[in-house]
């Protein structure tokens, strides 16, 4: 069971949260983005073993999105950050 420290609500149980993927920036302007670049944005992931930066949503709580630095092998959560908070 993960104990996820929501930056707004504090530590809460895993079932309250939803994993939201690796952060990615949508390429623009759309008309000039090649199929390859669009596919990379939609589908390619680093899928790191170990240290991993990812977005989560406190879906069953405050509903806010936040950034998580987590280890995908040990499941240790290093820290959580509010959006825009300096890394």
């Amino acid at each position: 069971m993960l104990l996820m420290p929501c930056p707004w609500c504090g530590p809460r149980d895993e079932p309250e949260f939803q994993f939201g993927g690796e952060p990615a920036t949508r390429p623009i302007p759309a008309a000039e983005v090649s199929d390859q670049r669009w596919a990379d944005y939609l589908y390619l992931r680093t899928n790191e073993k170990g240290f991993h930066r990812e977005l989560w949503c406190h879906a069953g709580g405050c509903g806010q999105w936040f950034l998580v630095e987590r280890d995908t092998v040990t499941h240790v959560i290093h820290r959580t950050l509010k959006p825009g908070e300096p890394a």
Binding site: Q18, F19, A39, N47, T72
Partner: protein, 415 residues
Amino acid sequence: MRYSALNLFRQGLAGQTGWPQAWRSPEPRPSYDAVIVGGGGHGLAAAYYLAKVHGMRRVAILEKGWLGGGNTGRNTTIVRSNYFFPESSAIYDFALRLYEGLSQDLDYNIMLSQRGILMMAHTEHDMELMARSVNAMLINGIDVELLDAAQVRAEVPLLNFGANARYEIHGGFTQRRGGIARHDAVAWGYARGASGLGVDIIQGCEVTGFDIAGGRVTGVQTTRGAIGAGVVGLAAAGHSGVLAGLAGFKLPIQSYALQAMVSEPVKPVLDTVVMSSATGMYVSQSDKGELVFGAGLDLYPSYAQRGNLPVEQAVIAGMLEMFPAFRRLKLLRAWAGLVDVCWDYSPIIGPAPLEGMFLNCGWGTGGFKAIPAGGWMLAHLMATGQHHPISAPFDLSRFTTGRLIDEAAGAGIAH
């Protein structure tokens, strides 16, 4: 040595002292024509078919742990081919047909038990969607049958047909050629067959990098030294992304933990495989008597080979809802495998972005049932450099062209 009645008799007379090891464990040679990374079912099958079908002899399998110690030894051993799209039916049914002849082909009993699989429908809407799926499968040439509630009850009377059942049973469908096979035996049988044809199986050998010259892979760096390679095949399931990273490209894959567990062994109570998307579980009874059941994904990336409690709790609750009689059983073991999930829940088979390298990955939650086909296709690619007609739709390029094969429902579990 062949496993035959005559040899069994001879060995009986000799006190069972003359059986050779099932496969050799040689030191790695400096180079091979073909190197396969990953000694699970898919890698072993690919090596076997490279040697048997394509006549290649200088072939090596590199496995960082032990044979079949990853997902091949961690799945719930279900085989079936009831998929929605023609491309999927073609590859999964090719696998099932190879499974049907595999014990004879390998001279190794993989204990294939075609006891049928039964997918449940819990609402009228489930039934309507199921009828659509069944029709699609029938058009694809897959032998499935739609069942009403009374037929399901006749097949599996132990299911919860009580008045207070939370997941009422409206019907289901069955594929009678589906069933289970002994997962370890599939790995060991392919290993023995491949080794007998001259393939070097090298365990405890982790790939740490790739040698690349002129945009082409020329060899692998391993914990047991450098090994030259004419072509390289990747069959590393949940670790495919790690290998891709070493080779300098990314894959449209995320690795998740998929849990499975077994109960204590009991006398025969369940003679088919029961699956339910609504309760997120699938269960069968092993030959030893244990109930083998599994779950949906732990829905965040993991390389931990262990699952977390919420999903375990959900799958057990789902099973007890469907089979109240199992309430008193003790849980014997629980574990997880690392599955490589693609966005459309279909595999990636084909050339990698690096010349001389070929991919067999992205099988996600359903790799075991596909082992013979995955191996066959990877072998075909490595030997000829060309797609087999069955593997062509599963090329990596589909993520750019947009021609995805969305088998979210065919995968049969919650994602």
